[in-house]
Symmetry: C2
Subunit: 302 residues, 2 copies
Protein backbone atom coordinates (compact mmCIF):
# COMPACT_ATOMS: atom_id res chain seq x y z
CA UNK A 1 0.00 0.00 0.00
CA UNK A 2 1.58 3.27 -1.16
CA UNK A 3 -1.24 5.77 -0.65
CA UNK A 4 -4.30 5.89 1.57
CA UNK A 5 -7.07 8.25 0.53
CA UNK A 6 -10.10 9.14 2.59
CA UNK A 7 -13.01 10.87 0.90
CA UNK A 8 -16.38 10.40 -0.71
CA UNK A 9 -17.82 7.86 -3.11
CA UNK A 10 -20.95 9.22 -4.73
CA UNK A 11 -23.48 9.03 -7.48
CA UNK A 12 -23.43 12.30 -9.41
CA UNK A 13 -26.08 13.78 -11.65
CA UNK A 14 -24.39 16.46 -13.69
CA UNK A 15 -25.50 18.88 -16.35
CA UNK A 16 -23.02 20.86 -18.44
CA UNK A 17 -23.41 22.86 -21.67
CA UNK A 18 -22.36 19.66 -23.45
CA UNK A 19 -24.80 17.15 -22.02
CA UNK A 20 -26.13 15.38 -18.97
CA UNK A 21 -25.11 12.36 -16.93
CA UNK A 22 -27.45 10.59 -14.50
CA UNK A 23 -26.39 8.87 -11.31
CA UNK A 24 -22.86 8.21 -12.53
CA UNK A 25 -19.98 7.09 -10.34
CA UNK A 26 -18.18 10.00 -8.69
CA UNK A 27 -16.84 11.22 -5.35
CA UNK A 28 -13.47 12.64 -4.31
CA UNK A 29 -11.96 9.31 -3.23
CA UNK A 30 -13.02 7.66 -6.48
CA UNK A 31 -11.52 10.32 -8.77
CA UNK A 32 -8.37 10.48 -6.67
CA UNK A 33 -7.88 6.71 -6.61
CA UNK A 34 -8.45 6.07 -10.29
CA UNK A 35 -6.05 8.88 -11.17
CA UNK A 36 -3.38 7.73 -8.70
CA UNK A 37 -3.78 4.07 -9.72
CA UNK A 38 -1.67 4.70 -12.84
CA UNK A 39 1.33 5.32 -10.60
CA UNK A 40 0.93 3.57 -7.24
CA UNK A 41 -1.08 1.19 -5.08
CA UNK A 42 -3.97 3.08 -3.49
CA UNK A 43 -6.24 2.06 -0.64
CA UNK A 44 -9.62 3.77 -0.41
CA UNK A 45 -11.36 4.70 2.83
CA UNK A 46 -14.97 5.57 2.12
CA UNK A 47 -18.57 4.55 2.78
CA UNK A 48 -21.26 3.42 0.36
CA UNK A 49 -24.86 2.26 0.73
CA UNK A 50 -26.46 -1.08 0.03
CA UNK A 51 -27.41 0.29 -3.39
CA UNK A 52 -23.76 0.47 -4.49
CA UNK A 53 -23.27 -2.10 -7.27
CA UNK A 54 -20.50 -4.67 -7.06
CA UNK A 55 -19.47 -3.85 -10.62
CA UNK A 56 -18.06 -0.50 -9.45
CA UNK A 57 -16.03 -2.21 -6.74
CA UNK A 58 -14.84 -4.71 -9.32
CA UNK A 59 -13.84 -1.92 -11.73
CA UNK A 60 -11.78 -0.23 -9.00
CA UNK A 61 -10.10 -3.50 -8.09
CA UNK A 62 -9.28 -4.21 -11.70
CA UNK A 63 -7.40 -0.91 -11.68
CA UNK A 64 -5.33 -2.27 -8.78
CA UNK A 65 -7.12 -0.20 -6.13
CA UNK A 66 -7.54 -1.72 -2.68
CA UNK A 67 -11.20 -1.44 -1.67
CA UNK A 68 -10.95 -3.11 1.75
CA UNK A 69 -11.48 0.33 3.32
CA UNK A 70 -14.81 0.92 1.56
CA UNK A 71 -17.48 0.21 4.14
CA UNK A 72 -20.94 -0.86 2.97
CA UNK A 73 -23.69 0.40 5.28
CA UNK A 74 -27.46 0.22 5.47
CA UNK A 75 -28.94 3.06 3.48
CA UNK A 76 -28.21 4.83 0.22
CA UNK A 77 -24.95 6.04 -1.26
CA UNK A 78 -24.14 9.78 -1.16
CA UNK A 79 -25.75 11.64 -4.07
CA UNK A 80 -24.81 14.99 -5.59
CA UNK A 81 -26.64 16.86 -8.31
CA UNK A 82 -25.01 19.86 -9.96
CA UNK A 83 -24.95 22.08 -13.00
CA UNK A 84 -22.19 23.95 -14.79
CA UNK A 85 -22.87 26.87 -17.08
CA UNK A 86 -20.36 28.24 -19.58
CA UNK A 87 -18.19 29.39 -16.72
CA UNK A 88 -17.01 25.88 -16.02
CA UNK A 89 -14.94 26.99 -13.04
CA UNK A 90 -18.13 27.33 -11.02
CA UNK A 91 -20.28 24.35 -9.95
CA UNK A 92 -23.89 25.09 -9.02
CA UNK A 93 -25.08 22.50 -6.52
CA UNK A 94 -28.72 21.62 -7.06
CA UNK A 95 -29.10 18.80 -4.53
CA UNK A 96 -26.98 17.05 -1.93
CA UNK A 97 -28.13 13.87 -0.22
CA UNK A 98 -25.47 12.77 2.24
CA UNK A 99 -27.24 9.50 3.05
CA UNK A 100 -24.72 7.01 4.55
CA UNK A 101 -22.00 9.68 4.24
CA UNK A 102 -23.69 11.67 7.02
CA UNK A 103 -22.44 9.28 9.70
CA UNK A 104 -19.19 8.34 7.99
CA UNK A 105 -16.66 7.23 10.57
CA UNK A 106 -13.50 6.43 8.64
CA UNK A 107 -11.80 3.30 9.87
CA UNK A 108 -8.53 2.18 8.32
CA UNK A 109 -7.96 -1.53 7.76
CA UNK A 110 -4.79 -2.75 9.50
CA UNK A 111 -3.02 -3.06 6.15
CA UNK A 112 -3.53 0.68 5.44
CA UNK A 113 -1.97 2.09 8.61
CA UNK A 114 1.65 2.07 7.51
CA UNK A 115 1.04 3.65 4.10
CA UNK A 116 3.77 6.25 3.47
CA UNK A 117 1.44 8.67 1.61
CA UNK A 118 -1.89 9.87 2.95
CA UNK A 119 -4.41 12.07 1.16
CA UNK A 120 -7.27 13.61 3.10
CA UNK A 121 -9.76 14.61 0.42
CA UNK A 122 -12.25 17.38 0.99
CA UNK A 123 -14.32 16.10 3.95
CA UNK A 124 -15.14 17.29 7.47
CA UNK A 125 -11.85 18.26 9.16
CA UNK A 126 -12.95 16.25 12.22
CA UNK A 127 -12.92 13.12 10.07
CA UNK A 128 -9.59 14.13 8.57
CA UNK A 129 -8.22 14.26 12.14
CA UNK A 130 -9.68 10.82 12.91
CA UNK A 131 -7.76 9.39 9.98
CA UNK A 132 -4.53 11.00 11.14
CA UNK A 133 -4.97 9.21 14.49
CA UNK A 134 -4.96 5.88 12.67
CA UNK A 135 -1.86 6.23 10.51
CA UNK A 136 1.67 5.39 11.65
CA UNK A 137 4.39 7.86 10.73
CA UNK A 138 3.50 8.52 7.08
CA UNK A 139 6.15 10.15 4.93
CA UNK A 140 3.75 12.75 3.50
CA UNK A 141 0.28 13.84 4.56
CA UNK A 142 -1.65 16.03 2.13
CA UNK A 143 -5.14 17.46 2.35
CA UNK A 144 -7.78 19.42 0.49
CA UNK A 145 -10.68 21.45 1.84
CA UNK A 146 -13.45 23.83 0.74
CA UNK A 147 -15.28 27.01 1.76
CA UNK A 148 -17.93 24.97 3.64
CA UNK A 149 -15.31 23.81 6.18
CA UNK A 150 -13.38 27.09 6.18
CA UNK A 151 -16.58 28.79 7.31
CA UNK A 152 -18.12 25.99 9.39
CA UNK A 153 -15.17 24.34 11.17
CA UNK A 154 -12.29 26.80 11.11
CA UNK A 155 -10.61 25.62 14.32
CA UNK A 156 -10.78 21.93 13.38
CA UNK A 157 -9.36 22.80 9.96
CA UNK A 158 -6.47 24.68 11.58
CA UNK A 159 -5.81 21.60 13.72
CA UNK A 160 -5.57 19.51 10.54
CA UNK A 161 -3.23 22.01 8.89
CA UNK A 162 -0.80 21.76 11.80
CA UNK A 163 -0.36 18.09 10.93
CA UNK A 164 -0.30 18.36 7.16
CA UNK A 165 2.77 18.97 5.00
CA UNK A 166 1.09 19.55 1.65
CA UNK A 167 -2.11 21.54 1.33
CA UNK A 168 -4.10 21.70 -1.90
CA UNK A 169 -6.76 24.40 -2.16
CA UNK A 170 -8.69 26.40 -4.76
CA UNK A 171 -7.63 29.97 -5.43
CA UNK A 172 -10.79 31.68 -4.15
CA UNK A 173 -10.76 29.52 -1.03
CA UNK A 174 -7.11 30.34 -0.37
CA UNK A 175 -7.98 34.03 -0.38
CA UNK A 176 -11.03 33.36 1.81
CA UNK A 177 -9.12 31.24 4.32
CA UNK A 178 -6.40 33.88 4.68
CA UNK A 179 -8.76 36.87 4.45
CA UNK A 180 -6.28 38.38 2.02
CA UNK A 181 -6.81 39.41 -1.61
CA UNK A 182 -3.13 39.15 -2.57
CA UNK A 183 -2.52 35.51 -3.41
CA UNK A 184 1.17 35.67 -2.51
CA UNK A 185 0.37 37.11 0.92
CA UNK A 186 -2.49 34.64 1.37
CA UNK A 187 -0.07 31.80 0.60
CA UNK A 188 2.35 32.99 3.26
CA UNK A 189 -0.45 33.23 5.84
CA UNK A 190 -1.66 29.71 5.06
CA UNK A 191 1.84 28.28 5.29
CA UNK A 192 2.23 29.92 8.69
CA UNK A 193 -0.57 27.53 9.82
CA UNK A 194 1.55 24.46 9.14
CA UNK A 195 1.88 23.21 5.56
CA UNK A 196 5.39 23.35 4.14
CA UNK A 197 4.08 23.03 0.59
CA UNK A 198 0.99 24.84 -0.69
CA UNK A 199 -0.60 24.15 -4.05
CA UNK A 200 -3.23 26.61 -5.23
CA UNK A 201 -5.55 25.24 -7.91
CA UNK A 202 -6.71 27.84 -10.46
CA UNK A 203 -8.93 25.74 -12.73
CA UNK A 204 -8.36 26.61 -16.38
CA UNK A 205 -5.39 28.77 -15.34
CA UNK A 206 -3.34 25.93 -13.89
CA UNK A 207 -1.75 25.78 -10.45
CA UNK A 208 0.73 27.68 -8.30
CA UNK A 209 2.99 25.93 -5.84
CA UNK A 210 4.66 27.63 -2.89
CA UNK A 211 7.46 25.58 -1.35
CA UNK A 212 9.57 27.52 1.12
CA UNK A 213 10.72 30.57 -0.84
CA UNK A 214 10.29 28.87 -4.22
CA UNK A 215 7.24 29.42 -6.46
CA UNK A 216 6.24 27.21 -9.39
CA UNK A 217 3.59 28.13 -11.94
CA UNK A 218 2.05 25.19 -13.82
CA UNK A 219 -0.24 25.85 -16.78
CA UNK A 220 -3.50 24.12 -17.52
CA UNK A 221 -3.85 22.26 -20.78
CA UNK A 222 -5.75 24.46 -23.26
CA UNK A 223 -8.60 22.08 -24.06
CA UNK A 224 -11.01 22.89 -26.85
CA UNK A 225 -13.93 21.90 -24.63
CA UNK A 226 -14.04 21.15 -20.93
CA UNK A 227 -16.81 18.59 -21.08
CA UNK A 228 -17.39 18.12 -17.34
CA UNK A 229 -15.13 19.66 -14.68
CA UNK A 230 -16.43 17.38 -11.89
CA UNK A 231 -13.50 15.62 -10.21
CA UNK A 232 -10.79 17.78 -11.79
CA UNK A 233 -9.30 18.75 -8.42
CA UNK A 234 -9.30 15.16 -7.14
CA UNK A 235 -7.83 13.80 -10.38
CA UNK A 236 -5.15 16.47 -10.04
CA UNK A 237 -4.41 15.38 -6.46
CA UNK A 238 -4.40 11.73 -7.56
CA UNK A 239 -1.79 12.32 -10.27
CA UNK A 240 0.26 14.47 -7.91
CA UNK A 241 0.29 12.01 -4.99
CA UNK A 242 0.53 9.00 -7.30
CA UNK A 243 3.65 10.35 -8.94
CA UNK A 244 5.21 11.33 -5.59
CA UNK A 245 4.54 7.85 -4.21
CA UNK A 246 5.86 6.16 -7.37
CA UNK A 247 9.10 8.16 -7.28
CA UNK A 248 9.30 8.43 -3.48
CA UNK A 249 11.14 11.73 -3.97
CA UNK A 250 10.02 14.94 -2.27
CA UNK A 251 12.61 17.25 -3.81
CA UNK A 252 11.44 20.57 -5.25
CA UNK A 253 12.12 19.42 -8.81
CA UNK A 254 10.19 16.20 -8.33
CA UNK A 255 7.21 17.94 -6.76
CA UNK A 256 7.12 20.18 -9.84
CA UNK A 257 6.98 17.11 -12.06
CA UNK A 258 4.25 15.66 -9.85
CA UNK A 259 2.19 18.85 -10.20
CA UNK A 260 2.44 18.65 -13.98
CA UNK A 261 1.43 14.98 -13.75
CA UNK A 262 -1.58 16.02 -11.67
CA UNK A 263 -2.45 18.62 -14.31
CA UNK A 264 -2.15 15.95 -17.01
CA UNK A 265 -4.60 13.68 -15.16
CA UNK A 266 -7.05 16.54 -14.53
CA UNK A 267 -6.91 17.53 -18.21
CA UNK A 268 -7.94 14.02 -19.22
CA UNK A 269 -10.63 13.77 -16.57
CA UNK A 270 -12.56 16.82 -17.77
CA UNK A 271 -12.80 15.47 -21.32
CA UNK A 272 -15.80 13.29 -20.46
CA UNK A 273 -18.43 12.66 -17.79
CA UNK A 274 -17.73 10.66 -14.63
CA UNK A 275 -14.56 8.52 -14.75
CA UNK A 276 -15.05 7.61 -18.39
CA UNK A 277 -11.86 9.24 -19.62
CA UNK A 278 -9.65 8.06 -16.75
CA UNK A 279 -10.90 4.54 -17.39
CA UNK A 280 -10.01 4.73 -21.08
CA UNK A 281 -6.52 6.26 -21.14
CA UNK A 282 -3.19 4.41 -21.17
CA UNK A 283 0.23 5.16 -19.71
CA UNK A 284 1.31 6.17 -23.22
CA UNK A 285 -1.46 8.77 -23.35
CA UNK A 286 -0.25 10.17 -20.03
CA UNK A 287 3.36 10.34 -21.16
CA UNK A 288 2.37 12.01 -24.45
CA UNK A 289 0.35 14.69 -22.70
CA UNK A 290 3.16 15.33 -20.21
CA UNK A 291 5.37 16.05 -23.22
CA UNK A 292 2.70 18.41 -24.55
CA UNK A 293 2.74 20.28 -21.22
CA UNK A 294 6.49 20.62 -21.60
CA UNK A 295 6.11 22.05 -25.12
CA UNK A 296 3.32 24.33 -23.95
CA UNK A 297 5.54 26.11 -21.44
CA UNK A 298 9.05 25.88 -22.81
CA UNK A 299 11.03 28.99 -23.63
CA UNK A 300 14.75 29.56 -24.03
CA UNK A 301 17.09 31.68 -21.94
CA UNK A 302 18.00 35.11 -23.28
CA UNK B 1 13.58 53.74 -36.40
CA UNK B 2 12.76 50.14 -35.40
CA UNK B 3 9.16 50.46 -34.19
CA UNK B 4 6.35 52.89 -34.81
CA UNK B 5 3.56 52.95 -32.24
CA UNK B 6 0.30 54.82 -32.60
CA UNK B 7 -1.86 55.29 -29.52
CA UNK B 8 -2.81 57.67 -26.76
CA UNK B 9 -0.88 59.97 -24.49
CA UNK B 10 -2.94 60.87 -21.45
CA UNK B 11 -3.08 62.24 -17.97
CA UNK B 12 -4.47 59.58 -15.67
CA UNK B 13 -6.07 59.95 -12.28
CA UNK B 14 -6.06 56.53 -10.69
CA UNK B 15 -7.24 55.12 -7.41
CA UNK B 16 -6.25 51.63 -6.25
CA UNK B 17 -6.49 49.90 -2.85
CA UNK B 18 -2.90 51.07 -2.35
CA UNK B 19 -3.20 54.78 -3.02
CA UNK B 20 -4.05 57.49 -5.48
CA UNK B 21 -2.25 59.29 -8.31
CA UNK B 22 -3.44 62.59 -9.78
CA UNK B 23 -3.00 63.65 -13.38
CA UNK B 24 0.02 61.46 -13.95
CA UNK B 25 1.51 60.65 -17.32
CA UNK B 26 -0.15 57.67 -19.02
CA UNK B 27 -1.64 56.52 -22.30
CA UNK B 28 -1.12 53.40 -24.39
CA UNK B 29 1.59 54.89 -26.64
CA UNK B 30 3.51 56.16 -23.63
CA UNK B 31 3.52 52.85 -21.74
CA UNK B 32 4.35 50.96 -24.91
CA UNK B 33 7.21 53.26 -25.87
CA UNK B 34 8.90 53.42 -22.52
CA UNK B 35 8.74 49.63 -22.23
CA UNK B 36 10.03 49.05 -25.78
CA UNK B 37 12.75 51.69 -25.39
CA UNK B 38 14.88 49.23 -23.42
CA UNK B 39 15.26 47.13 -26.58
CA UNK B 40 14.78 49.26 -29.68
CA UNK B 41 14.32 52.72 -31.18
CA UNK B 42 10.65 53.69 -30.99
CA UNK B 43 8.81 56.50 -32.74
CA UNK B 44 5.55 57.68 -31.17
CA UNK B 45 2.52 58.84 -33.11
CA UNK B 46 0.11 60.59 -30.77
CA UNK B 47 -1.56 63.90 -29.99
CA UNK B 48 -1.30 66.10 -26.89
CA UNK B 49 -2.75 69.46 -25.89
CA UNK B 50 -1.08 72.77 -25.23
CA UNK B 51 -1.11 71.82 -21.53
CA UNK B 52 1.37 68.99 -22.10
CA UNK B 53 4.61 69.94 -20.34
CA UNK B 54 7.91 69.84 -22.20
CA UNK B 55 9.48 67.90 -19.35
CA UNK B 56 7.49 64.80 -20.36
CA UNK B 57 8.70 65.10 -23.96
CA UNK B 58 12.21 65.54 -22.64
CA UNK B 59 11.90 62.46 -20.43
CA UNK B 60 10.76 60.34 -23.40
CA UNK B 61 13.62 61.64 -25.55
CA UNK B 62 16.12 60.90 -22.82
CA UNK B 63 14.93 57.30 -23.05
CA UNK B 64 15.83 57.38 -26.75
CA UNK B 65 12.23 57.66 -27.93
CA UNK B 66 11.53 59.66 -31.10
CA UNK B 67 8.78 62.17 -30.36
CA UNK B 68 8.61 63.80 -33.80
CA UNK B 69 5.24 62.08 -34.32
CA UNK B 70 3.67 63.64 -31.22
CA UNK B 71 1.48 66.45 -32.48
CA UNK B 72 0.71 69.35 -30.16
CA UNK B 73 -2.75 70.80 -30.77
CA UNK B 74 -4.91 73.58 -29.34
CA UNK B 75 -6.88 72.23 -26.42
CA UNK B 76 -6.27 69.88 -23.52
CA UNK B 77 -4.56 66.52 -23.41
CA UNK B 78 -6.71 63.36 -23.11
CA UNK B 79 -7.68 62.64 -19.52
CA UNK B 80 -8.79 59.36 -17.95
CA UNK B 81 -9.97 58.80 -14.40
CA UNK B 82 -10.37 55.28 -13.08
CA UNK B 83 -10.55 53.12 -10.01
CA UNK B 84 -9.47 49.58 -9.25
CA UNK B 85 -10.89 47.57 -6.37
CA UNK B 86 -9.31 44.43 -4.98
CA UNK B 87 -10.06 42.64 -8.23
CA UNK B 88 -7.27 44.42 -10.02
CA UNK B 89 -8.12 42.77 -13.32
CA UNK B 90 -11.09 45.11 -13.66
CA UNK B 91 -10.73 48.87 -14.26
CA UNK B 92 -13.73 51.02 -13.39
CA UNK B 93 -13.72 54.11 -15.59
CA UNK B 94 -14.99 57.15 -13.70
CA UNK B 95 -14.36 59.86 -16.31
CA UNK B 96 -13.04 60.09 -19.85
CA UNK B 97 -12.27 63.43 -21.47
CA UNK B 98 -11.01 62.81 -24.99
CA UNK B 99 -10.14 66.50 -25.56
CA UNK B 100 -7.61 66.77 -28.43
CA UNK B 101 -7.72 62.97 -28.83
CA UNK B 102 -11.28 63.26 -30.18
CA UNK B 103 -10.05 64.57 -33.53
CA UNK B 104 -6.78 62.66 -33.60
CA UNK B 105 -5.66 62.17 -37.18
CA UNK B 106 -2.43 60.17 -36.99
CA UNK B 107 0.21 61.42 -39.40
CA UNK B 108 3.53 59.66 -39.65
CA UNK B 109 6.66 61.76 -40.10
CA UNK B 110 8.58 60.74 -43.22
CA UNK B 111 11.27 59.10 -41.09
CA UNK B 112 8.72 56.72 -39.55
CA UNK B 113 7.29 55.24 -42.73
CA UNK B 114 9.88 52.56 -43.33
CA UNK B 115 9.90 51.24 -39.75
CA UNK B 116 9.96 47.41 -39.88
CA UNK B 117 7.75 46.99 -36.78
CA UNK B 118 4.40 48.71 -36.30
CA UNK B 119 2.18 48.58 -33.23
CA UNK B 120 -1.37 49.84 -33.43
CA UNK B 121 -2.36 50.36 -29.81
CA UNK B 122 -5.98 50.24 -28.72
CA UNK B 123 -7.55 53.12 -30.67
CA UNK B 124 -10.37 53.51 -33.21
CA UNK B 125 -9.86 50.88 -35.95
CA UNK B 126 -10.42 53.61 -38.54
CA UNK B 127 -7.33 55.38 -37.22
CA UNK B 128 -5.43 52.09 -37.16
CA UNK B 129 -6.26 51.72 -40.87
CA UNK B 130 -5.07 55.28 -41.56
CA UNK B 131 -1.72 54.40 -40.06
CA UNK B 132 -1.43 51.28 -42.19
CA UNK B 133 -1.89 53.42 -45.29
CA UNK B 134 1.18 55.42 -44.31
CA UNK B 135 3.68 52.63 -43.68
CA UNK B 136 5.80 50.99 -46.35
CA UNK B 137 6.09 47.20 -46.27
CA UNK B 138 6.68 46.70 -42.54
CA UNK B 139 8.04 43.33 -41.46
CA UNK B 140 5.47 42.90 -38.67
CA UNK B 141 2.25 44.74 -37.91
CA UNK B 142 0.66 44.10 -34.53
CA UNK B 143 -2.46 45.55 -32.95
CA UNK B 144 -4.56 45.64 -29.80
CA UNK B 145 -8.23 46.49 -29.36
CA UNK B 146 -11.00 46.53 -26.75
CA UNK B 147 -14.71 45.75 -26.27
CA UNK B 148 -15.64 49.36 -27.18
CA UNK B 149 -14.42 48.84 -30.77
CA UNK B 150 -15.57 45.22 -30.98
CA UNK B 151 -19.07 46.45 -30.28
CA UNK B 152 -18.92 49.86 -31.99
CA UNK B 153 -16.84 49.30 -35.13
CA UNK B 154 -16.84 45.56 -35.86
CA UNK B 155 -16.43 45.82 -39.64
CA UNK B 156 -13.58 48.36 -39.44
CA UNK B 157 -11.89 46.14 -36.86
CA UNK B 158 -12.19 43.13 -39.19
CA UNK B 159 -10.61 45.23 -41.92
CA UNK B 160 -7.66 45.93 -39.61
CA UNK B 161 -7.32 42.26 -38.70
CA UNK B 162 -6.96 41.28 -42.36
CA UNK B 163 -3.82 43.40 -42.47
CA UNK B 164 -2.32 42.46 -39.11
CA UNK B 165 -0.04 39.52 -38.41
CA UNK B 166 0.02 39.65 -34.62
CA UNK B 167 -3.08 40.42 -32.60
CA UNK B 168 -2.96 41.07 -28.84
CA UNK B 169 -6.26 40.97 -26.97
CA UNK B 170 -7.65 40.43 -23.47
CA UNK B 171 -9.20 37.07 -22.67
CA UNK B 172 -12.78 38.31 -22.11
CA UNK B 173 -12.59 40.38 -25.29
CA UNK B 174 -11.33 37.40 -27.29
CA UNK B 175 -14.39 35.42 -26.21
CA UNK B 176 -16.63 38.39 -26.96
CA UNK B 177 -15.14 39.04 -30.39
CA UNK B 178 -15.53 35.38 -31.37
CA UNK B 179 -18.89 34.88 -29.60
CA UNK B 180 -17.43 31.65 -28.25
CA UNK B 181 -16.89 30.61 -24.61
CA UNK B 182 -14.15 28.08 -25.41
CA UNK B 183 -10.91 30.05 -25.60
CA UNK B 184 -9.27 27.55 -27.95
CA UNK B 185 -12.20 27.74 -30.36
CA UNK B 186 -12.35 31.54 -30.00
CA UNK B 187 -8.65 31.70 -30.90
CA UNK B 188 -9.21 29.70 -34.06
CA UNK B 189 -12.12 31.93 -35.10
CA UNK B 190 -10.06 35.08 -34.55
CA UNK B 191 -7.12 33.71 -36.52
CA UNK B 192 -9.49 32.93 -39.37
CA UNK B 193 -9.97 36.72 -39.63
CA UNK B 194 -6.33 37.28 -40.50
CA UNK B 195 -3.73 37.28 -37.72
CA UNK B 196 -1.18 34.50 -37.95
CA UNK B 197 -0.20 34.95 -34.31
CA UNK B 198 -2.68 35.59 -31.52
CA UNK B 199 -1.69 36.54 -27.98
CA UNK B 200 -4.41 36.42 -25.36
CA UNK B 201 -3.67 38.47 -22.24
CA UNK B 202 -5.03 36.98 -19.02
CA UNK B 203 -3.91 39.55 -16.44
CA UNK B 204 -2.60 37.86 -13.29
CA UNK B 205 -2.81 34.50 -15.09
CA UNK B 206 -0.29 35.36 -17.79
CA UNK B 207 -0.74 35.01 -21.53
CA UNK B 208 -1.52 32.37 -24.13
CA UNK B 209 -0.06 32.49 -27.63
CA UNK B 210 -1.53 30.68 -30.61
CA UNK B 211 0.85 30.48 -33.57
CA UNK B 212 -0.30 28.13 -36.30
CA UNK B 213 -0.90 24.84 -34.50
CA UNK B 214 1.46 25.69 -31.64
CA UNK B 215 0.28 26.99 -28.24
CA UNK B 216 2.48 28.68 -25.62
CA UNK B 217 1.40 29.39 -22.06
CA UNK B 218 3.34 32.16 -20.29
CA UNK B 219 2.82 32.72 -16.58
CA UNK B 220 2.42 36.05 -14.86
CA UNK B 221 4.93 36.98 -12.17
CA UNK B 222 3.36 36.28 -8.76
CA UNK B 223 3.69 39.76 -7.28
CA UNK B 224 2.92 40.33 -3.63
CA UNK B 225 0.95 43.46 -4.52
CA UNK B 226 -0.18 44.76 -7.87
CA UNK B 227 0.05 48.43 -7.03
CA UNK B 228 -1.58 49.86 -10.17
CA UNK B 229 -2.46 47.71 -13.20
CA UNK B 230 -2.83 50.73 -15.54
CA UNK B 231 -0.66 50.25 -18.61
CA UNK B 232 0.10 46.57 -17.97
CA UNK B 233 -1.14 45.50 -21.40
CA UNK B 234 0.77 48.24 -23.21
CA UNK B 235 3.97 47.58 -21.25
CA UNK B 236 3.54 43.92 -22.20
CA UNK B 237 3.19 44.83 -25.88
CA UNK B 238 6.19 47.18 -25.59
CA UNK B 239 8.45 44.46 -24.21
CA UNK B 240 7.16 41.98 -26.77
CA UNK B 241 7.61 44.22 -29.82
CA UNK B 242 10.81 45.73 -28.45
CA UNK B 243 12.41 42.32 -28.09
CA UNK B 244 11.20 41.19 -31.54
CA UNK B 245 12.63 44.34 -33.13
CA UNK B 246 15.90 44.01 -31.21
CA UNK B 247 16.40 40.40 -32.31
CA UNK B 248 14.68 40.79 -35.72
CA UNK B 249 13.68 37.13 -35.43
CA UNK B 250 10.09 35.97 -35.84
CA UNK B 251 10.67 32.27 -35.17
CA UNK B 252 8.29 30.50 -32.77
CA UNK B 253 11.03 30.17 -30.13
CA UNK B 254 11.93 33.85 -30.35
CA UNK B 255 8.30 34.97 -30.12
CA UNK B 256 8.04 32.90 -26.94
CA UNK B 257 11.04 34.73 -25.49
CA UNK B 258 9.48 38.04 -26.55
CA UNK B 259 6.23 37.16 -24.76
CA UNK B 260 8.14 36.43 -21.57
CA UNK B 261 10.00 39.73 -22.02
CA UNK B 262 6.63 41.46 -22.37
CA UNK B 263 5.47 39.76 -19.18
CA UNK B 264 8.65 40.91 -17.43
CA UNK B 265 7.99 44.52 -18.44
CA UNK B 266 4.32 44.34 -17.40
CA UNK B 267 5.31 42.87 -14.03
CA UNK B 268 7.57 45.86 -13.35
CA UNK B 269 5.03 48.37 -14.59
CA UNK B 270 2.31 47.36 -12.12
CA UNK B 271 4.65 47.79 -9.14
CA UNK B 272 4.05 51.56 -9.01
CA UNK B 273 1.80 54.31 -10.36
CA UNK B 274 2.23 55.80 -13.83
CA UNK B 275 5.58 55.10 -15.49
CA UNK B 276 7.50 55.39 -12.23
CA UNK B 277 8.75 51.81 -12.21
CA UNK B 278 9.63 51.64 -15.91
CA UNK B 279 11.60 54.85 -15.47
CA UNK B 280 13.57 53.41 -12.56
CA UNK B 281 14.58 49.92 -13.72
CA UNK B 282 17.80 48.92 -15.46
CA UNK B 283 18.64 46.30 -18.09
CA UNK B 284 20.09 44.20 -15.26
CA UNK B 285 16.73 44.27 -13.46
CA UNK B 286 15.04 43.08 -16.66
CA UNK B 287 17.51 40.25 -17.18
CA UNK B 288 17.19 39.16 -13.54
CA UNK B 289 13.42 39.02 -13.72
CA UNK B 290 13.53 37.08 -16.99
CA UNK B 291 15.61 34.49 -15.15
CA UNK B 292 12.99 34.44 -12.38
CA UNK B 293 10.30 33.72 -14.99
CA UNK B 294 12.42 30.82 -16.18
CA UNK B 295 12.72 29.44 -12.65
CA UNK B 296 9.01 29.98 -12.05
CA UNK B 297 7.99 27.67 -14.90
CA UNK B 298 10.80 25.15 -15.24
CA UNK B 299 10.14 21.44 -14.78
CA UNK B 300 12.09 18.42 -15.92
CA UNK B 301 11.09 15.72 -18.37
CA UNK B 302 9.82 12.44 -16.93
Amino acid sequence: MDIVVVGSVAFDTVETPFGKADEVLGGSATYFSLSASFFAKVGMVAVVGKDFPDEHIKMLEEKGIDTAGIEKKDGSTFRWKGRYDYDLNQAHTLETHLNVFEHFNPTLPESYRKAPFVFLANIDPELQLKVLEQVEAPRLVACDTMNFWIEGKPSELREVLKRVELFVINEAEAREFAGEPSLVKAARKIMDCGPRILIIKRGEYGALMFNGSSVFSAPAYPLEDVFDPTGAGDSFAGGLMGYLAYTNDLSEQNIRKAIVMGSVMASFNVEDFSLNRLRAISCDDIRARYTEFKQLTYFEDV
